[in-house]
Symmetry: C2
Subunit: 422 residues, 2 copies
């Protein structure tokens, strides 16, 4: 559909004037609304306060005292819960502190300094390239940038990355060492990887023997409606004869506490062995008391699922309000499209080409802070300057409503300014 | 004094027979005593259980919600406590998770991958050498070994490392990038660095612009008797015109919970800026709830000091018993010497040259596990095979008594076997 198809120039001028008036009213309100990051709201955090209802005992089911040294890869009961979340066995799991990002980063450190499975350490290579399905997660790309990897943007489809492009690239280029994936409710589009995509990732031929999938399953259990499943990547890799291809990551950052939860990674037994060997020199281990308190709070995987339904009850109205306001204001104009995720933390909004930066700047004028335009692409550069990430979880419903109304006004105004200029 | 000076051969044979009898009695007891690592005992850990008496509020004094993202370098009240422990300002402090070893390791990672203060990253250098005062801490040496640094053993005196040797080495060798220091109650000798040693470390000329002192102040407040002070290294470095020379580390591992406490590092404002810049890509931050619970438990530095007196009351009898048993059994024989630390976690025992490995193996036969002989030296090789680290904190007093008696028997038997063979 064309941009403002069926509108006369006069109608567009009137519409622009009307929007400018509404925008100036919002500016007078001195709003201070932040939708820049995927932060849980206080109501969500309250759901987990009882983690700290300490019952005076710090020993695991097997009688290990979590207050002392030992079990550097985690306590059994927490391993079991993460194993169930990720669809693996406890022996595949390593528990970290609170940040799964930290575990991803350290995985790169090991690849760079020591190499993976006997391959050359990446710091000795002239070039390391990495596949970045985009729009994607800015913190993933920031790691690549710090390590001076060359990022290759892969278009992100509704069922995962463009696999034709991925397969072709990895087949012949030994410098391509991996791919970032957020398989469930991808950040920011909310896409869920299809079985076909998972199988192709697991089975494709890669020139690099140390090619690795960084499988950031941050939203594995973060359903807003029905329970979704992504095909088991570790099993598929094994089945395809590439058992060591994938590193899985997840955390309770958006289950219990953002920044004070428990993070974990999983991989093949051989990869886990290699990681633990290096880790034994790096650290005396992760916070086991935090693990124990978390494990007791949830008891098991069913406990996690029941807990996530409570989160969904808080978040559903926020996501639905965003959808409604976008629909009410922007549908049928041909100037924007957006995703309707069934879970996760984000909604992805594509505005008219070349307008995203201006929209974000304009919203800022009225006190609405969005994720910087471009952040969802490698190097912070959205080639079409059109993607905006909406993070609706943190603001209260009323504030979210105002913020979205401002955003819709900014989207329209920016496009109208552009087309009326010509 | 000579070995068994004044004893006739006949007397030594009789003594050996007597010790063999006592040893075989111990063997029959099927002891299972572990003095291998500096672990706090349950009674010590109990002192801190109230850290988890949660009062329902997770906000800092300034009103920050610790359950959510933010404050990646730590909460103000915990920074203040660590600043006081280390004698620095809050702006010099970065808080980590539970492991200060992890913070040391990550500091090496940054030096290797990105370089320090604009100097060449260490992974691009042909050789990196590191000074290792010994006997020292095996986990420090293990990091050097994993990074393939060349370790140079520096003799450890009663007032710190041999500074004549240190100064001479660093003056002309650009590949020497740093030195390990445990300034207070050094692991394992218990030595406290003198003012002179601190000043010389701070002021010496180093060929490498990126030479760094790794100041592991693990036992900063771990006094058994009077309060000791080490000269303020950060101030001395500033005064000497080398403001960025030192990284300080400490943790509450042996104040609250081993492996689940809070760790911190400190350095010049410029170093802290560089570290935070890299860290912002590595992690979303450390566990702030754990910090908050710790800070509330102690309130301030005075709270820490009062708490450490409780530890001292538990540990003093253990250290004194070790001293007494060593004195009663081994003094006057010319076959061993040992330290009498005023704090910390270890006692260092030097046995007759060439005997340490055999002593440790023999003790193991009777069920007494000691730190492997040699572990206190680079590459696990004690050139004189004589140093044994005694970790008296973990076993209950009665078990400690048996373990020490076994150890003394093993020390004597090993020497007697050796000299009677000739």
């Amino acid at each position: 559909m064309g941009v403002y198809e069926g509108f006369s120039k006069q109608q567009l001028i009137l519409r622009k004037e009307e929007l400018e008036q509404r925008f100036s009213l919002y500016k007078k309100q001195n709003l201070k609304l932040d939708m820049s990051r995927g932060k849980p709201c206080s109501e969500q955090l309250d759901l987990s306060n009882a983690v700290f209802e300490y019952n005076g005992d710090f020993t695991t089911e097997e009688g290990f005292d979590c207050r002392n040294y030992g079990l550097p890869d985690g306590i059994p009961e927490m391993k079991k819960i993460f194993a169930d979340i990720l669809g693996v066995s406890s022996e595949n799991v390593i528990i970290g502190n609170s940040s799964s990002l930290n575990m991803m980063y350290d995985t790169f450190v090991r690849a760079y300094l020591f190499g993976i499975s006997g391959c050359e350490p990446w710091n000795r290579l002239e070039k390391v390239r990495f596949l970045c399905p985009s729009p994607g997660y800015d913190r993933h790309f920031a790691i690549c940038e710090q390590f001076n990897m060359e990022m290759i943007t892969i278009p992100m489809n509704e069922d995962g990355p463009d696999m034709d492009m991925v397969e072709e690239l990895v087949r012949d280029d030994e410098s391509i060492k991996g791919i970032w994936c957020v398989p469930m409710y991808s950040n920011p589009t909310g896409a869920v990887y299809s079985d076909d995509v998972v199988r192709r990732l697991a089975g494709m031929k890669t020139k690099a023997a140390d090619f690795r999938i960084f499988w950031d399953n941050a939203y594995a259990v973060h359903h807003l409606y029905e329970e979704n499943k992504v095909l088991n990547i570790l099993e598929e890799c094994e089945r395809a004869g590439n058992p060591d291809r994938v590193y899985l990551f997840t955390s309770t950052a958006k289950i219990t506490f953002a920044g004070s939860g428990v993070a974990a990674m999983a991989s093949s037994v051989e990869n886990v062995r290699q990681i633990k060997e290096k880790m034994s020199i790096q650290t005396i281990g992760s916070n086991k008391i935090n693990q124990l308190l978390h494990a007791r709070f949830f008891k098991n995987y069913d406990g996690i699922k029941a807990h996530m339904e409570k989160h969904a009850r808080i978040l559903r109205p926020k996501f639905e309000m965003v959808s409604k306001i976008l629909n009410d204001n922007l549908s049928g104009l041909g100037i924007a499209s957006w995703t309707s995720p069934r879970g996760g933390y984000f909604i992805s909004l594509d505005v008219h080409e070349g307008c995203a930066k201006k929209v974000v700047a304009k919203a800022k004028e009225a006190g609405v802070t969005l994720t910087p335009a471009g952040a969802t692409f490698p190097y912070g550069r959205d080639p079409k300057d059109r993607n905006i990430r909406i993070a609706p979880t943190y603001p209260p419903l009323e504030e979210l409503k105002s913020a979205l109304e401002v955003l819709c006004i900014c989207v329209e105004l920016t496009v109208l300014e552009k087309i009326l200029q010509n």
